[in-house]
Amino acid sequence: MPVSTPVIGVFILIYLMIMFYLGWLGYKKTKLTEDYMIAGRNVHPYVLALSYGATFISTSAIIGFGGAAGALGMGLLWLAVMNIIVGIFIAFVFFGSRTRRMSLNLRAVTFPELLGRRFQSRFIQGFSGALIGVFMPLYAGIVLIGGARFIEATLNINYDIAVLILTVIVAAYVITGGLIAVMYTDALQGALMFIGMIFLLSFTYITLGGINAAHSALTAMNHLVPEGLAAGGHLGWTSMPAFGTPIWWTLVSTLVLGVGIGVLAQPQLAVRFMTVRNDAALNKAVFVGGPFILMMTGVAFTVGALSNVYFYQNTGMISLAAAGGNTDLIIPEYINSAMPDLFVVLFMLTLLAAAMSTLSSQYHTMGTAIGHDFYREYVKKGDLGKTISITRVAIAITILGSVILAYMLPISIIARATAIFFGLCAAAFLPMYTGALFWKRMTREGAIASLLVGTFSSLFWLTFVRSSEAVPLGISKALFGVETLITGTWTLVDPILIATPLAFIAGIVVSLMTKPIPDEHLDKCFTRKRK
């Protein structure tokens, strides 16, 4: 690293002190369960937008997916388009306002609780809570790995100690300050990320001689695509991969559709719609959220692809080669060699902020899923007054789980594990969540059917069909003696394209066959009170 450790140390220290201050502020303001769970339903629209964006965009979106753009090219920009249109516009305008109103009508304070109360089923709440509690530590584990690797490299300290430092800091403000602390620290981290990414984009285009010149130079490098990638369908960094090839399927099904649609059913994001007073706040958040996401994923994917030009002009190698074949190292390598020293410091804080904002929300969501949804509402049938204390303990336990995973998981899993979690959430929750908000005819049995079909078909596809997960897992090989149960193109298709439609069909068919939910309950769910 070119920048002296003491300089970075001072910046990080100042940054951490502000984080602690905001955490303490959250602690002071937290009096009721609603404060701890959903920040008292009184969050400022800008804080909502930045917090949503900063939670949405983790280090893996910038480093992992930016690096993927370095290898696969600008086709990833379709994911940025999806992030803005689906992740912000559709999420806030269509899902957000109904989620907010229904959670208020039903007095729901978590995502599983909203679904459970809408369909009058403790099972839905308990199962959803358990699903989040079991699989989210995996997602949190990889975000933790990303953050800790960054601290390790920047401050020259041991990786294991870096994991502990990061965990203790985030845990301290999440456990004490609840969602108020989480969202205010998120907002500050989001602002920092925004500034960092603006600099990154500007420096990149200036260094490469302007927008058109930079893109033209990248287009002119088409013949440099390595043979292995070209055989997989790679046609150059400013072209889409050839239709139907393995790279095309990875790009379109896993990255663009999997992550692009999966965001709608992310519990840690959906809960944020419940934190504002009225729909006007959601509209204002759209105003801030659209450009924010453009500056995050749009910039990361563009710069990731353009890094090829920089490396080729300066070292004669493409990015993948310059980063030693590891896509996760393309962006850090590019920042270190191409950017001025002061920017390196700024960008390091940007990455630390991205990791911490995602981690804190994950810890909060896992804790409330286990402590409130699973334990209190399902196991104890709602019969316990000390929800906050139980949730705090649950947060501590899930944090421990993700730390253990951070020590165990290999580094190369970062981008893939993010996609797996997003896909699982889409299959398990999206049909039921969509039905809850938009289809009054959906019944409890239909919702349960979609939840179970979505969860298990998604897990089945990952374990037995999709080669990129099934082969390393080895369960199919152990049970049936074959690496995947089906062969051919199917083994490239992301589970989201199979499991989510299946779950939708199950939800619709079973709903139509079962007794509708009573009108009085539906009125209670959908009523819109005005002042």
């Binding site: 920009l77 940025a80 516009f89 927008i211 287009t219 072209s239 006007a280 509209n283 450009p291 819109r528």
Partner: protein, 41 residues
């Protein structure tokens, strides 16, 4: 267009900006819509 030959790429590049600007226009037009919604107690 923009130094990019494949239309599927430059369309995505431009769509990123259009969709972000669209979000801003929507937010600005609807700035105060929904202010009359119920308050928290």
């Amino acid at each position: 267009m923009l130094g990019i030959d494949d239309p599927y790429i430059w369309i995505a590049y431009i769509l990123c900006f259009i969709s972000a600007i669209g979000c801003m226009i929507y937010g600005a037009i609807k700035w105060n819509d929904g202010l009359d919604d119920e308050d928290v107690e």
